[in-house]
Amino acid sequence: MSSPKDFVLSCPLPLTDYPTVTLAHGGGGKLMHQLLEKMILPAFQSPLLETRHDGAVFGIGESRLAFTTDSYVVSPLFFPGGDIGTLAINGTVNDLAMCGARPLYLSCGLILEEGLPMDTLWRIVQSLKSAADAARVQLVTGDTKVVDKGKGDGVFINTAGIGLIDYGQPISPASVRSGDVILLSGDIGRHGIAIMASREGLEFETQIDSDCAPLATVVQKLLSSGVEVHCLRDLTRGGLGTTLIEIAESARLHIGIEETAIPVREDVAAACEVLGFDPIYLANEGRFIAIVPQRDAERALVALRSEEPATGAVRIGQVTASPSGMVTMKSRVGTSRIVDMLSGEQLPRIC
């Protein structure tokens, strides 16, 4: 028998890092990436996991499948433009769409807190159902657990999904080439501000609705338009900025974007000014970027603009060779700056 010393399970995170999990570890920024790189990926060592896509893509027989999962812990449960139910369906549908897949079947796990009003649960179930219908997916398996009062925030939902991939080319950062253009499907930041406003009781002159929407239909339209699609990403936690940095790092290329080309609705921009936020880091639930070769850019825009919710699609930048692994933005006044990954969530500043 080997000595117990051989089985020392030491935590791979250096001691200088946080000894406990903080909220920033789930914020989609640098700390979360460190957690994935130093703990999760080494623990499982799967080539499929290593691709760090929105879902895993693999073949079974003649078919290529995409498989993904996501958990939803939003507070408040209901917000302008959506609720935890629509998020739970659209989030997983969109992750499959970003793999180039046609979403087919979803599972749904509900973790309910003791004391949750039955009426609230019913509203969430209804919205799960109508969001699934709208995205043309079937909810085919599930699970329900109840935890003690105080041990959950009303409702936590986990969904997983399977989709079928018809598109022949690999859609991933590895397919991105210097010279490709970055297309953005519409205005950014509405989901982040809608959640913040309803969570904190902030009131603006106009109501800002979440952009939460299923993206599979418009992505399928893009893929079947004959355009060569190199990479797709939805702009959820961490927003446009974090997504572009992930792609630039992974593809070892430079992405340059123009601030004036990025659509931000006036009320969202105003809220950002007040709170000290940068809209490029705000979460979206119905926005994505498509990276395509320059020669296909116009045709891709036409395909995107033909279908909601991408009718406002625009070109925001281009991929070049260097400085590799970096995203820069040409500012409104014509100078250039780095777009850096945030450490955690954006924090409202003092003054």
């Binding site: 006036e266 409104r332 006044v333 014509g334 780095i338 850096d340 003092i350």
Partner: protein, 370 residues
């Protein structure tokens, strides 16, 4: 966006940059006081639009950065206690204390809440009569009126479970400390527009006269800052040293008099330690004895705390305008926004964080015009 995008117009900015270049015949060093201005300069790359003779140095005007280490330690000590709800502006949570930051306390179960207004803390105190509710009252003259109002209303409401952990600092004494230092290289100032919106700018007149420096009350948008620099350079070139107001759409000579009255009722001027700079006489605000019942340091018996800064961190030199962030040996290596050694790497207004976030792709010496 109306009343914002006009001040970010590329053509207008280029116009001001040109006129600054025309005005400039010699090297000049200008300090922007406020962290909000630093952030705007680096975010929009405004210094890249300036002629090489103009050097901008970044002043001590980030409230997160100058809050002394022992006060962070006191905040951590209070927030770690059971039956305390500790309320703070968001960006104070990541500032490193001697042992840990407030985020870590939250992760260990501390009830820490991010608020947008100190008056929200009063509501929390009313709703939680069995808990002690503490608000971390940091900042310059800009946040002082709201904190004064919180203390004032707390007394009116007779709240027994509300207190303020106060670390207020004042701008003019810090400017005087910088100017009276023998190594001072600042020749002109962009004063902090929003501080002046509260306080007016008459208190800058003796500073400008005594130290013979132009002081321009300046806003925060790109065009504001470029116009402020143009006004400052014009004075420097002409050998004038006056106080001028660039930010006329917000700042009046007298400032906000009702806010000043309230501040006087609640606060008194005290000596204050600045992180990285040291103690500056009569440079801060503390609660008046009449409001002592709302002083968290007294309530939790924390007056004896002291703490030492990390030895590598040169934040003091940076905040006095003597060094640039990338001249620090720890910049972007041992010290990053994830593991900050000093506070200027934490806040979005901190000079080090602004350089880290927007500037690492430039070759240091050439682009930064040191």
């Amino acid at each position: 966006m109306k009343f914002v995008s006009e001040y970010r117009d590329a053509a207008a900015c280029a116009g001001y940059a040109k006129s600054i270049a025309r005005l400039t015949t010699r090297p000049w060093t200008i300090m922007e006081i406020c962290g909000g201005q630093t952030h705007s300069i680096v975010k929009f790359g405004l210094d890249e639009l300036l002629p090489p003779q103009i050097t901008l140095v970044h002043g001590p005007g980030c409230p997160v950065c100058v809050t002394p280490l022992e006060l962070i330690d006191k905040a951590v000590a209070i927030a770690s206690r059971p039956n305390v709800i500790f309320c703070s502006f968001g960006d104070m949570l990541r500032v490193p204390g001697s042992e840990c930051d407030l985020f870590s306390v939250k992760a260990r179960g501390g009830d820490i809440r991010i608020l947008y207004s100190p008056l929200d803390a009063l509501r929390i105190a009313q709703e939680n009569p069995s808990k002690q509710v503490v608000f971390f009252a940091v900042g310059f003259e800009t946040t002082a009126p709201a904190h004064a109002m919180a203390a004032f209303q707390a007394r009116q409401l007779g709240l027994k479970n509300f207190s303020l952990l106060v670390s207020h600092v004042l701008v003019p004494p810090a400017m005087e400390a910088i100017l009276s230092s023998p190594s001072c290289r600042v020749q002109g100032f962009l004063a902090a527009g929003h501080v002046c919106a509260v306080m007016g700018f008459e208190e800058y007149l003796p500073l400008a006269a005594t130290y013979r420096v132009p002081i321009i009350v300046t806003g925060f948008e790109p065009l504001d800052i470029l116009q402020g620099i143009a006004m400052c350079v014009a004075q420097l070139e002409q050998g004038r040293h006056e106080v001028e107001n660039q930010y006329t759409r917000t700042v009046q000579t007298q400032g906000n008099l009702p806010a000043q009255e309230l501040m006087k009722d609640v606060f008194r001027v005290v000596d204050r330690k600045w992180r990285g700079v040291g103690s500056i006489p009569a440079s801060g605000l503390g609660l008046r004895p009449e409001f002592a019942e709302f002083d968290a340091e007294l309530r939790f018996d924390l007056t004896a705390y002291t703490a030492e800064e990390h030895s590598v961190c040169i934040s003091g030199l940076i905040m006095q305008g003597l060094k640039k962030p990338h001249e620090c040996p720890a910049f972007a290596t041992a010290c990053t926004p994830e593991k900050p050694l000093g506070a200027p790497m934490v806040s979005s207004e901190g000079a080090c964080a602004a350089y880290f976030r927007y500037r690492r792709h430039h070759a240091p010496a050439s682009a930064m015009k040191v």
